[in-house]
Symmetry: C2
Subunit: 235 residues, 2 copies
DNA sequence: TAGATTGTTAATCGATTAACAATC
DNA sequence: TAGATTGTTAATCGATTAACAATC
């Protein structure tokens, strides 16, 4: 996109592929734990829950790390994907908002195992400061700038109520954080160059509810159709 | 897809649109709280964080609920979207696995406000039974079938460790649950007709890490290009 | 009527998938 | 060599977007 010569960073990996790479990484970890040293695209795809054509296409954006007629070396492919995602590095992270969800996040083992290191837990309530969660001291939100500078934090997690989320994001951005994972149910406005990803538990449930409702509707129609004459109602 | 005549349920709403409807619903709630009774697609799109063409296209799958030259009635549109998603109904939900995350989910207020009612908290550890979380008693996992039957539960939430997730899912499906929200980091195998959505905190962070790494790489290239002068104040 | 804004069209873009040539 | 499996091509499908006619 930039006018810069496209040597080095030419390999533009599609977003949909980027989102699946961590899934492949997890599937590979599972294979390793099962003592499997080599796998075919078919096997890895099954473990990851995608079809094999998609898997091969995705991997082709990274390079050619398989062997035709043989498959992929699990350890080698694991390393290549981890490197591509960037989880071979250490990523210092701060979590802001130590309510129920903040607690759960601080205790979440899946972070540490992937290079994410929680360097600080921050809460706006001064009464919380001094508490310890998952072996990490809770500190006042005002120390954000200092902590980000000290630990070169690039990623922040927001687990505050919706009302506080935007101002927390503003402070994060001002302090130098450029990637935010937002659990608060609010749309964040951030400058270009800052990435925000949003996890919204209620939205996921609503998507399920929509499909659930549809299943029920289809069953109702089927029952009606099965009736002797069925006044065949179009809406 | 079925051979059934396509009257009633003809309005196939694209998945991408379904995933955004809850976002619009939340934005509309925000407008209502701000005392706004009417909005244009431009305003609602801004509140939801999408562009207005996409919003209008999405809404067009539901019907024509706006007025040309005027915009949308906030209350009316809210109702229509809520009805389409299905959150005007009551959705009984069970949560299995009452660790840190299960606690957070049980306490999450966003569920109740959208028609989701947590009817039971289940944990495999018998020692947990009798505990109370968010005013709901924790019960033994073995009571699952009974509870699903008693409350006509269609949606289950899995917040167990990865190792337990598949067997919990199997039991859920056997007991009649047909939609599962899975927080455990594992790929679930379920029969056709059962919907699974997955929320994986570590995967979200890894996607951020990938982009973060890329930003750093671009800055490094820029700094190199600029080398002779200015060791480069990139933001 | 003149101005505003929706709902829809059509073009574009990106993602998925099946099929298969390349090659171990 | 024969069998297996990758990496890539090309067709298809679905999602996004700009533009604008319809219409309040």
């Amino acid at each position: 996109m930039s006018s810069r010569s496209s040597g080095e960073n030419a390999r533009e990996i599609p977003e949909a592929t980027v989102a699946r790479l961590p899934v492949y990484l997890r599937a590979l970890t599972g294979l390793t734990e099962g003592g499997i040293a080599t796998c075919s695209s078919e096997e890895l795809a099954a473990a990851a829950g995608v079809n094999s054509a998609k898997l091969r296409k995705d991997l082709s954006y990274l390079g050619s790390y398989g062997t035709r007629g043989v498959g992929y070396d699990v350890e080698y492919l694991t390393y290549q994907i981890a490197r591509e995602i960037g989880v071979t590095q250490d990523w210092p992270v701060v979590i802001v908002g130590i309510g129920n969800l903040g607690h759960a996040l601080a205790n979440y083992s899946g972070f540490r195992s992937r290079g994410f290191r929680v360097v600080a837990l921050l809460d706006a309530d001064p009464a919380r400061a001094g508490e310890e969660v998952a072996g990490i001291a809770v500190r006042p939100f005002d120390e954000l700038e200092q902590i980000v500078a000290d630990h070169a934090v690039a990623i922040g997690v927001i687990a505050t109520p919706a009302a506080a989320a935007q101002s927390v994001a503003d402070r994060m951005v001002a302090s130098g954080i450029s990637s935010i994972l937002n659990f608060a149910p609010s749309v964040l406005a951030v400058p270009a160059g800052v990435d925000v990803r949003k996890v919204d538990l209620s939205i996921e449930l609503q998507i399920l509810a929509y499909h659930e409702q549809r299943k029920a509707a289809v069953e109702a129609v089927a029952a009606t159709d099965a009736a002797p004459l069925a006044p065949g109602g179009v809406s």
